[in-house]
C-alpha cells in the first residue's frame, strides 16, 4: 500500500547551513503521526518544505503518489495538504470572521464553506462569540483555535498542526488536546508537531523523533508512551 503522504531523503537548508539531512517518513490514510524532537532541529523547516514555503535541496515529498515539490503553497493547499502554523502571530489586525473567510477563500469547493464554518464554530464555540473581534486581541488559546479554524476552512485531507499548545496554560492545553482528538476522528490524516510529548503520544498512532535534521527514532505512540527510554530521550529538552 502506498502512503498518503511521504517524505523521502529530504535535504534542506538556509544559505550554507544545512538543516535537514535526509528525512524519511510516511503517513497512511486514516493515520495520525506525531513529530517530536528538540526545537531548532528541523521540524519547522520540514513543514515549510511540505507546504511549499521552502525549497529542499534534495529528496522528494509525495502526496498520493505525486510530488508536491514543484507546487506553490497555494497548489499544495488545494490538494488538501493544509498546514496550521503556530498561532501566536496570526493576522493581528483582522477580525476573527475575516480570518476564517480568508481560510475558506482557497477552498475549491465553494459550497463547503458554510458547513465548514459551522463545523469550526461547533468545535470552538469561543470563536463564534469573538467573531467580530480583532485576532490580535485574542488570548493565546483562542489564537490557536483560530489558527486551526483557518486551516479547517480550507477543507483539509491532511491537517498539519505546528506547535498548537506552545506556551499555553495547562487548562487551555487540555481544551485544545480534546479538540485535536476530536479532529483526528473527522480527518483523513493528521500530523501533529508539539513540544508536549504526552499530548503527541496520546493523540497519534505513530511518532517520529527528529534530531539534527534526521529521524533518529520512530515507533508506535502507545508503546512509546510508557517507555522509559523515550523519557530519557527528552531529558534536558524543554
Amino acid at each position: 500500500m502506498t502512503a498518503m503522504l511521504s517524505v523521502e531523503g529530504l535535504h534542506a537548508g538556509y544559505g550554507r547551513s544545512s538543516v535537514l539531512r535526509g528525512i524519511d517518513l510516511h503517513l497512511d490514510e486514516g493515520e495520525a503521526i506525531g513529530l517530536l524532537g528538540p526545537n531548532g532541529h528541523g521540524k519547522t523547516t520540514l513543514l515549510r518544505c511540505v507546504s511549499g514555503l521552502h525549497r529542499p535541496t534534495a529528496g522528494d515529498i509525495r502526496f498520493q503518489g505525486a510530488s508536491l515539490l514543484p507546487l506553490s503553497p497555494r497548489a499544495v493547499l488545494r490538494r488538501g495538504v493544509v498546514q496550521v502554523p503556530q498561532g501566536s502571530r496570526l493576522f493581528p489586525r483582522m477580525t476573527v470572521a475575516d480570518c476564517l473567510r480568508l481560510g475558506g477563500a482557497a477552498n475549491p469547493d465553494r459550497s463547503a464553506r458554510r458547513p465548514l464554518l459551522d463545523e469550526v464554530f461547533g468545535l470552538f464555540p469561543k470563536l463564534q462569540q469573538r467573531s467580530a473581534q480583532l485576532a490580535g486581541t485574542l488570548s493565546g488559546g483562542e489564537r490557536q483555535m483560530l489558527s486551526i479554524g483557518i486551516g479547517l476552512m480550507a477543507g483539509p485531507r491532511v491537517l498539519i498542526l505546528d506547535e498548537p499548545t506552545l506556551g499555553l496554560a495547562p487548562k487551555v492545553k487540555h481544551e485544545l488536546a480534546d479538540a485535536i482528538r476530536q479532529l483526528r476522528g473527522r480527518l483523513e490524516a493528521l500530523v501533529l508537531v508539539d513540544g508536549d510529548m504526552d499530548l503527541v503520544l496520546r493523540a497519534t498512532d505513530r511518532f517520529y523523533v527528529v534530531e539534527s535534521g534526521q529521524v533518529v527514532q520512530t515507533g508506535d505512540s502507545v508503546a512509546g508512551a510508557d517507555s522509559a527510554r523515550m523519557m530519557s530521550l527528552f531529558l534536558g529538552d524543554v
Binding site: 537548508g13 538556509y14 544559505g15 550554507r16 547551513s17 526545537n39 528541523g42 503556530q86 506547535e163
Partner: protein
C-alpha cells in the same frame, strides 16, 4: 612580502600611468572635454559609492552635495572675487555642512526611509536655489566664472590641459581615499553595519557616528567635484541638482558594480563616451542611460565588477589556482563577505 606590496601597488601605478598618458592620446578640444567629463563623473561616482555601495546607506542626496559645492564656490567667487582654489576648499566645507543637515533624518530612520528623506532633501535644494535668486541667479544661474589658474598657467589653455590634470589628481585621490577607508577599521565597521546592523552594534560599533562620517566625507568630495565642474564650465545652473546627473551617476555605479572602484571608474568612462555619442539626440540620451540601469539591474545586478570577478574565477580555476583573491583594489574581497539574509535566520523556531 615584497610581492604583496607590489601586487597592491601595481594597479595604482598602472592607473597613474594611464591617467598621465591619456591626454597625449586625446588632444582635440572635444575628446579632451569628454575625457575631463569622465574624470568628473568618476570622482562623483566613487564618492557616492562610499555611502551607497560600501556603507549601504540609501543616500540619494549626493547630487545635492555636488550642487551645493558648485553653487557655494560660484557665489563666493562671484561675490567676493575669492581665489577659485580657496572657493573649492570652502565648497567641500559647505557640502559637508549640508550633509549634516541631510543626515538629521538618518538619526532615527533606517533603510529605505533614508532614501526617501535624502531624495526629498536633494529636490528641496532646487527650490532653495530658485527661491534665493538674488544670490543664486535663480533659473538663470551664475555665469562668467573665472578659470582656474596655477601661477602663470591658465587651466583652460591647451585644450583644458590644466583641468584635465586637476581632474586626474582628484580622481586618483578619491579612489585612494576610498581604498584606504575600505581597508581601515572605519571602513570595515561600515561594512559590518551594512551586513548586519544588530551584530555590529552588539560589538560596540556606533551606527550614527560611523555612517555620519561616511556621509560627510563623501559629501565633501562631491562638493569639490561640484566646484571643479563650476569652474570647468564657468557657469552653474540648477541642472547640477537635476535628474540627468542622478541617472547618469546611477548608471555608472550600477554598470560598474556597486562598491567596486575599478568597476565604477570603467562605468564612468563607458557612460560618458556613450553620452557623448548620443549628445545630438535630445531625449534619447536619457532614454539610453536609464535603460542601461534597468538592463544591468535585470541581467547583471553585480555589474561589470561582478562579471570581472566571475571571469577571474573561471580563469583562475582553469589555471588551477585559488581564485578567491580577486583584484587588489576590489573592496568587496577585502570586506566581510555578504551573507544571504536567510543565513542569519535561525533554522527552526526562533
Amino acid at each position: 612580502m615584497a610581492i604583496r606590496v607590489l601586487r597592491l601597488l601595481l594597479p595604482w601605478v598602472v592607473f597613474a600611468v594611464v591617467l598621465a598618458v591619456l591626454p597625449g592620446m586625446f588632444t582635440s578640444a572635444h575628446s579632451r572635454l569628454v575625457l575631463i567629463q569622465a574624470l568628473l563623473y568618476g570622482v562623483l561616482a566613487v564618492s557616492w559609492n562610499l555611502t551607497l555601495g560600501l556603507a549601504g546607506i540609501f543616500n540619494f542626496a549626493q547630487i545635492a552635495f555636488f550642487g551645493v559645492g558648485a553653487y557655494s564656490s560660484a557665489i563666493l567667487v562671484d561675490r567676493t572675487g575669492m581665489s577659485p582654489w580657496l572657493a573649492m576648499a570652502l565648497a567641500a566645507v559647505s557640502a559637508a555642512l549640508s550633509a549634516c543637515v541631510a543626515f538629521l533624518p538618518v538619526l532615527r530612520l533606517r533603510g529605505i526611509y533614508v532614501g526617501l528623506a535624502t531624495y526629498v532633501f536633494s529636490q528641496l535644494c532646487i527650490y532653495l536655489v530658485l527661491g534665493q535668486s538674488d544670490l543664486t541667479g535663480g533659473s538663470n544661474g551664475i555665469v562668467g566664472l573665472p578659470d582656474m589658474t596655477l601661477g602663470p598657467v591658465n587651466f583652460y589653455d591647451h585644450n583644458r590641459y590644466g583641468y584635465y590634470c586637476l581632474g586626474a589628481v582628484l580622481l586618483f585621490a578619491v579612489c585612494a581615499v576610498f581604498l584606504a577607508i575600505s581597508r581601515s577599521r572605519f571602513g570595515l565597521s561600515l561594512v559590518a553595519l551594512r551586513n548586519n546592523e544588530q551584530l555590529a552594534a552588539s560589538r560596540g560599533i556606533r551606527r550614527t557616528r560611523q555612517q555620519f562620517l561616511a556621509f560627510v566625507i563623501g559629501a565633501a568630495a562631491a562638493g569639490v567635484a561640484g566646484s571643479y565642474n563650476a569652474f570647468l564650465n564657468s557657469v552653474v545652473s540648477t541642472d547640477v541638482f537635476g535628474f540627468g546627473y542622478l541617472t547618469i551617476l546611477l548608471s555608472m555605479i550600477f554598470l560598474g558594480g556597486r562598491s567596486s572602484i575599478p568597476g565604477t571608474v570603467v562605468g564612468a568612462v563607458v557612460i560618458t563616451v556613450l553620452n557623448d555619442r548620443l549628445s545630438g539626440t535630445g531625449a534619447w540620451q536619457q532614454v539610453v542611460t536609464s535603460a542601461i540601469i534597468l538592463v544591468v539591474l535585470w541581467v547583471f545586478p553585480e555589474g561589470l565588477a561582478g562579471a570581472g570577478r566571475l571571469l577571474w574565477r573561471r580563469v583562475a580555476a582553469m589555471r588551477g589556482r585559488d581564485g578567491t583573491g580577486g583584484s587588489p583594489t576590489d573592496t568587496t574581497a577585502a570586506a566581510v563577505p555578504l551573507e544571504p539574509a536567510a543565513a542569519h535566520r535561525p533554522a527552526d523556531h526562533a
